[in-house]
Structure formats: structure tokens, C-alpha cells
């Protein structure tokens, strides 16, 4: 997958668990886990906005493009 999700790293920097984030952004832990492991097909702007607002980061901090 050329698009890499770096949610794990951002969470680590913020000392926040996935469960805490799930509660704050009102997204199920299962869905956040899918996103974190890079198994999601797409991400809604509203989801991205909620995560960025909670973690105080930019979309570029969460996603990166890595050529295959």
C-alpha cells in the first residue's frame, strides 16, 4: 500500500491509547484499529478532521505516501 497510516506514531508521541482516541472522536475501536493497521480503503474528511482536532496534528502527520 502506497499510502501509509502513521496513527500509531502520532498516538505514541501524544501518549494516548487507541481506546482513548476512540472515545474522544466517537469512532469505534474496531474501526480505528482498521485505520491504524492500514486495512481501511478510505477515510472520510469528517473522521480525519476529528482525529486531527483531538490529536492536534495535520492530516500529513497521519498519512504518508511511500512508493512501492
Amino acid at each position: 500500500m502506497a499510502i501509509v497510516v502513521k496513527l500509531d506514531e502520532v498516538l505514541h508521541d501524544r501518549r494516548m491509547s487507541l481506546t482513548e482516541l476512540a472515545e474522544k472522536v466517537d469512532i469505534t475501536l474496531a474501526n480505528l484499529s482498521i485505520l491504524k493497521t492500514g486495512k481501511a480503503r478510505a477515510i472520510r474528511f469528517s473522521t480525519l478532521e476529528a482525529i486531527c482536532a483531538t490529536l492536534g496534528c495535520q492530516p500529513g502527520d497521519l498519512l504518508a505516501f511511500e512508493p512501492d
Binding site: 469512532i27 480505528l32 482498521i34 481501511a40 480503503r41 478510505a42 477515510i43 472520510r44
Partner: protein, 174 residues
């Protein structure tokens, strides 16, 4: 609306089950009839009102060919009915928009096409063996609604496939 949905599904399921059995009975009946013609051709000719003095050989060959084509329709009908049944089952499970159903609709479209071709062949044979002495009216041949159904089913299969892909994308969207 919910009431009609809840009753329509079991009715469709039971109807399809009955039609599957009737289809095989229909096939067995044709097979039995064709087999019988080999043992008692004269009786059969009288039964279908072939006038005396008419050359029975081409009529018999034609009728047996029609029966053979009718037998070919049995597995095709079975393929259609069983796929429809599987689709009804997926609706019952609340998950009909799956790739398997898109393939099923596509397979049904090909089966309907095959049935239309069989119908054309049967209609052609019927016309070939019909005469003034032995007029024969078969419910077969070119059917505008039949071919429209074929085209419609192919289009629906494509729509279903696209819809399934969109649904998969939606499911993978967080």
C-alpha cells in the same frame, strides 16, 4: 411495506422451490413422451391429430428435435431457479449486495439468452414441420419481451456488480 416484505420473501422462496421440482417433472415428462414415441409412433401420431396420408417421418423428426431442445431447457431453467433461490436466501440474511449475487444475475442473463436461442430454434422447427394438413402453433420463436428481458438482466448484472464494488468501498471507509 415491512409486512409485504416479510411475506414476499417466504412466498418467493417456496415458489422457487416448487418451480425447481416442477421443472424436473416437466423434463421427465418430455423424456417419457419422447421415449414413448419410439415404441408407439402410430398412437402418438393419432394423439396429436396428424391426418392420415401425411408423411409422418419429417413431423416425427421435427417433434423429437423440439423435445430434445425442450430437454436442454431443463438444466438451464434449473440454473436460473437455483440462482434466484440463492439470491432470495441472501436477501433473507439481510446481505444481498454481495459479489456472488452480481455473478448470479450475470449467469441468469446468459441462461435467459440461451433460452431465447432455444425458443428461436423450436419456433423454426415448428414452422418447418407445420403444413395446411398439420397446422402447428407453438408458443416459441422470437419474443420481443424475452429479448428485452435478456438485455435488462445483463444491464442489471452490471449495475449490481458496480453497486457491490461501491458497497465494499463504503464498508472499508472509516
Amino acid at each position: 411495506m415491512a409486512g409485504s416484505k416479510s411475506t414476499a420473501l417466504p412466498i418467493a422462496y417456496v415458489s422457487l422451490r416448487i418451480l425447481i421440482v416442477l421443472n424436473w417433472i416437466y423434463g421427465a415428462a418430455i423424456l417419457g413422451l419422447v421415449t414413448f414415441t419410439f415404441f408407439n409412433e402410430a398412437w402418438f401420431m393419432r394423439a396429436i391429430d396428424v391426418p392420415a396420408g401425411t408423411d409422418a417421418a419429417p413431423i416425427m423428426i421435427g417433434l423429437r428435435a423440439i423435445a430434445f431442445l425442450g430437454l436442454l431447457a431443463v438444466p438451464i431453467n434449473h440454473a436460473i431457479l437455483t440462482r434466484l433461490l440463492r439470491m432470495v436466501e441472501t436477501v433473507g440474511r439481510g446481505d444481498p449486495f454481495v459479489a456472488a449475487n452480481a455473478y448470479r444475475v450475470n449467469a441468469i442473463a446468459w441462461a435467459l439468452l440461451a433460452l431465447q436461442l432455444l425458443s428461436l430454434a423450436i419456433g423454426g422447427i415448428g414452422k418447418a414441420i407445420a403444413s395446411k394438413q398439420f397446422p402447428m402453433h407453438l408458443d416459441a420463436g422470437f419474443s420481443t419481451s424475452g429479448w428485452l428481458a435478456v438485455i435488462l438482466t445483463f444491464v442489471l448484472a452490471r449495475v449490481f456488480a458496480e453497486g457491490t464494488l461501491m458497497r465494499e468501498d463504503l464498508e472499508g471507509t472509516i
